[in-house]
Symmetry: C2
Subunit: 341 residues, 2 copies
DNA sequence: ATGAAAGCGCTAACAA
DNA sequence: TTGTTAGCGCTTTCAT
């Protein structure tokens, strides 16, 4: 037998009231008034006994667990930022966060978690092109609130927090364009596993549109992430057109691409920041300060996206009456200037 | 009223047995034999009804929650690695992870969490010099299993997972020393907020001892992290002694220090990897691949440390009989070679 | 080997 | 306004 737990009964006894009064004081149950002195007595007893409600017992009654599950790729540092936001926002609601890395846990198993733990909601950090029809189906069959971060962009049923990538590109371009005579060149790095998706399209098209608006001849380059030769050739092509007085600026979609560019520039003897500017439209690698010279990037506010997801979850929890509303929440990347552009 | 839950009663009814049999099948309760056919029937009913035990109800009976809490700095990418290990190992035990960032939650509040949620254990990711006497006291008063990662090194009561920093330095030195005629120079970066601690001492002393063993004149340098001048002077001092045929190797305690070194080397026109080698005795920044040239580092296996912490927790849970045992578990850093050394 | 029954601590409907 | 009571779903004696 373990140590005796302090229960609401003990509190009630000490305060000279019944357990329901204790419960009412704790939960502020509407429709039940509690006299001021009684309330004081209860509060005092709680203090003195160091009473804490048993979340499991409470959950048993209410059918809730006061927990939300966070699901994402445990190897991606971005997920930690998301978690930070989730944790922070949940704390405000008195909720806790149950971690569900997607290494060994498939999304479908989350349904079981829901059944076992009575999770009150799920926040999933997905890749930008992610969408799972099966999951959408399961979800619509259950009353479990769900919010995706970065995923399900084209699935209007699902609430998701999305980044306005078009805008991030425009802001980046406006930033580099503050210097006169720059020639922005877009570099879209690609990876086998990541197919073209709306985010890449948005960025590319924002670049093209911006060039049109600013009467600049666009140059859009697709390069595979491992393709060192490709980057090298791109850099060399810049030298050829050196006749132009314009300062070339490489704007790349992923900050990991900057590593390749720096590497080749280093080999070719180009000085980034003077011969050539570099700017990244995202900051996935979080290497802004680690690059030399430091990188100018558009930082994506993952922490805030985590917080927003929590608020969106609670909106679903509270208004379970079906309202017509936009299920997509958009956030903006923020410029972090560095020495590279 | 929400959707009716499938309970063990439903399963029992469908299988034509009583609830206790269902429970016995589920938990393999010792001392209770269940006939083969009955067992089959129960299993089949569970399948068909898609029954899942209610963790809260179970927890209520057993006094456990099948959850462990993970506590750490949500802004440090290292913590995510730890979480990955924790999550992974917990899954094997059928446990879940409750996240407790230390942003808004003080360690003392964890006690409340324990009372509320009946947490079965706590894993805390601490800084290397961390130790909180008050917490040690609270802990000894409660039966709550606790394991610290990187903290409480000098607190023999507490179980902690620690890194053998001496060894990481020796391995790094042996690695650079494979080339003939290198001159290893130790650089200890310092930060206001981080005082000298056992880990720094271990590294420094391992360096000095190694130099003695290898009959090399040691050079141990303390530099403040922001002290660009200091790094610059250090690099310049290397040129002066250029008369020596030895290739200087800077071994630094933190991989963040490499950024400063690269930056100054870049300014002074030194080529890292040829004029000068650089090696880091840890990999806190996780910038191995992002540096140009790529960095040689000793990587600390935080994922595994997380897993080990979970195993240590379960050892405490299972053997609650007090055994005499070593409370400190040591792990080794692993060499990741790069181009810098 | 199996079933009946007693709670775990809480909340909410109801009775006073 | 306050106290009584009936479960929530499970595990675990204790009888059978």
């Amino acid at each position: 037998m373990s140590i005796k737990r302090v229960t609401s009964f003990d509190v009630a006894k000490k305060a000279g009231v019944s357990r329901s009064v204790v419960s009412a004081v704790l939960n502020g149950t509407p429709g039940i008034g509690v006299g001021a002195e009684k309330r004081e007595a209860v509060l005092k007893a709680i203090q003195e006994l160091n009473y804490q409600v048993d979340a499991q017992a409470r959950g048993m009654k209410t059918g809730k667990s006061y927990c939300i599950a966070a699901f994402g790729d445990m190897r991606s540092p971005l997920f930690l930022q998301v978690l930070e936001g989730i944790q922070h926002a949940c704390a405000e609601y008195g909720y806790h966060v149950l971690l569900s890395g997607n290494q060994n846990l498939a999304l479908s198993q989350l349904t079981d978690l829901y059944l076992q733990r009575r999770i009150d909601g799920i926040i999933s950090h997905d890749s930008v092109n992610y969408s799972d029809d099966g999951w959408v189906g399961e979800l619509s069959a259950s009353p479990l609130p769900f919010v995706s971060i970065e995923g399900y962009a084209e699935e209007s049923e699902i609430v998701s927090i999305l980044v306005d990538y078009s805008r991030s590109v425009r802001e980046a371009l406006d930033y580099v364009n503050r210097r006169s005579d720059v020639l922005p060149i877009y570099v879209q790095f690609q990876e086998e596993s990541v197919k073209d998706n709306w985010a890449e399209r948005d960025r590319r098209e924002a670049y093209l549109q911006w060039c049109t608006d600013n009467k600049i001849q666009p140059s859009c380059n697709l390069v595979h992430l491992d393709d060192e030769q490709g980057v090298k050739q791109l850099l060399q092509s810049l030298t050829k057109s050196e006749g132009s007085t314009k300062l070339p600026v490489l704007l790349c979609n992923w900050s990991i691409g900057a590593v390749s560019i720096y590497r080749q520039a280093h080999r070719l003897g180009f000085h980034i920041g003077t011969d050539l500017l570099v700017m990244c439209a995202d900051h996935t690698l979080r290497n802004q300060m680690h690059m030399i010279p430091s990188l100018s990037v558009m930082d994506i506010p993952y922490v805030r996206m985590g917080e927003m997801a929590v608020h969106a979850i609670f909106e679903q929890i509270q208004h379970d009456d079906v309202e017509i509303k936009a299920n997509k929440l958009w956030v903006n990347a923020q410029l972090i200037p560095g020495e590279s552009a």
